[in-house]
């Protein structure tokens, strides 16, 4: 999706050339005022002085970024060292989101491939089956997941009644629960772009490889995978980026014990800390990371399109 809007298709048709600026005006007005201006305002806030217990004082300072990157001890007067606290939180989020992405890929790729190789008439039905859960409110899906996984929940009841385990598996309030929650939340985002790529893949190439005595798994690795790489990358981005900023899964499934990026930022505005400039700075760091990632992705896409 992130790459989808950026192409815009062929520019040959120019029927409404004379009105084009008027036609674009409403979208510019809304998006500049409600998206771009707020992001710029957030950038400005990250350089302001914090007001005790929430709010800002209009005096420029680098304090928020200083707090993010440098550790000056519990009392703020030690010589500055690299601050590991927030790097740890960011790293944990990247790690959790990364594991969720890998898990989604392991399940999502075969699913997408399987669907794309069904007869054309049933394909849409399979896609339909995968997308329905995505339309269910994320909150409800996360809560359902928690209900299913809890110590006295249906999954443990079932496993105990079948005699597979004696004691309930403790999953809720662990990192595993967070990864499972993220994986579950965004799985369809992985399946759909890969499906779109595999559907366009020319299976004559696989047949050619088979004629040359390549085993099926070699064909998959050396021929199919490179051909559908853009879809795989798009899927990974679509799972990884929202997982990175998630706070429902850590909050509801992880027991709010460890901050993730999303909960760290939320805490600055709605929780105990009340440090707006720091929250804005953390959000800017997250935004910069995501934009760099998307730029790398866009370049990869362009390269893939250039070399068919």
């Amino acid at each position: 999706m992130a790459g989808g809007a950026a192409t815009g298709g062929s520019a040959a048709a120019d029927t409404y050339k004379s009105a084009r600026h008027w036609l674009l005006l409403p979208s510019w007005l809304v998006l500049v005022l409600v998206v771009l201006a707020p992001v710029c305002m957030m950038l400005i806030y990250s350089f302001l002085t914090k007001e005790f217990r929430g709010g800002v004082i209009w005096e420029p300072t680098l304090a928020a970024y200083d707090q993010f990157f440098f550790d000056r001890g519990l009392f703020g007067d030690d010589p500055p060292k690299i601050e590991w606290t927030y790097i740890t939180i960011f790293w944990r989020s990247i790690w959790q989101a990364g594991l969720a992405t890998i898990l989604s890929l392991i399940i999502g790729f075969p699913t997408a491939y399987f669907i794309a190789t069904r007869p054309e008439r049933t394909r849409a039905l399979w896609v339909f089956l995968v997308t329905i859960p995505y339309w269910v409110n994320l909150l409800i899906r996360t809560v359902s997941m928690k209900f299913l996984l809890r110590d006295q929940g249906p999954m443990n009841d079932f496993l105990i009644s079948t005699g597979l385990i004696d004691d309930p598996l403790r999953i809720v309030n662990t990192n595993l629960a967070v990864q499972l929650g993220l994986f579950y939340s965004y799985l369809p985002f992985m399946v759909l772009p890969i499906y779109a790529s595999v559907e366009r893949y020319n299976f004559a190439m696989s047949e050619a490889a088979a004629d040359l005595y390549a085993t099926k798994w070699t064909t998959l690795r050396r021929i199919v995978l490179p051909a559908v790489k853009p879809g795989v990358i798009a899927g990974c981005i679509l799972v990884f980026v929202p997982s990175l900023g998630a706070f429902l899964a850590p909050d509801l499934l992880g027991g709010a014990k460890n901050f993730m990026i999303g909960s760290l930022i939320e805490e600055q505005f709605k929780g105990n800390a009340g440090n707006w400039p720091f929250g804005a700075a953390a959000a800017m760091v997250l935004l910069t990371m995501v934009l760099i990632l998307l730029m790398i992705f866009a370049r990869q896409q362009r390269r893939a399109e250039a070399s068919p």
């Binding site: 809007a5 815009g8 048709a13 201006a37 047949e207 980026v241 995501v290």
Partner: protein, 268 residues
Amino acid sequence: MSAKTDVKNYTGFRTLTFVCLFILYAPLVVVTIYSFNASPSITVWEGFSLRWYGDVFTGPESGKFKAAAINSFSIALIAATLATIIATSAATAIVRGGIFKTRTLSLGLISLPLMVPEIVLAVATLIFFNAVGFTRGYMTILVAHIAFCIPFAYLPIQARMQGIEDTYEQAAMDLYATKAQAFRRVLLPLMMPGIISGFLLAFIVSLDDFIITNFVKGAGVETLPTAIFGSVKQGLKPNIMAISTMLLALSIVMVTLSYVVSKTDNTK
């Protein structure tokens, strides 16, 4: 079995597909089943009952949920409608407006809400409304929803418009139709499936949003997701499961509708 199907099939992929569907549906199925539980405790099964569905409409929390549902649906309807109009007009300029300087920039701007992580957008919007001194309430939620719905409405509309040859409109104009007439009488009817999918997509995205709404909502204005969050934070209750099941059913109806609409596609 021919050689062609053979290179397509991999052992285990079918199994993993069923695992995938199982994972996707298991939690939803469990919640749906337990929403029909007679017991007030969510852990014990006491037989089939519709009491929690009644509770949603008449119970102690019914007022709260009714108000939240009215807010949610009216916001989703207005936001999706306006976003669809804005997106249709932008798509017309971008797909049918020739090559011009701000074209790529406009595309970037429209996809911005998809690229910025939701929590960042939420914080930025909160700061912005605070800085300009807007009182938070129904209007602030609505404005934010219109903005982030635009790309979701835009994508299917653009895809659809690219699939329509501009020869139809050219032909109309050769027959002395004005540009406005060509747009209204020729392009728009052809565009309808794309516009409807875009509208439905935007509608669901708005109905579903929790993070941004939670940051920009004001006193006493709840939407369904924020009201549900307030309730489930204190533990999953059977009436929440009933609401979830109803929302699930609604989502299925909407997706089916958009599926049927895309099937009745008359140009393919």
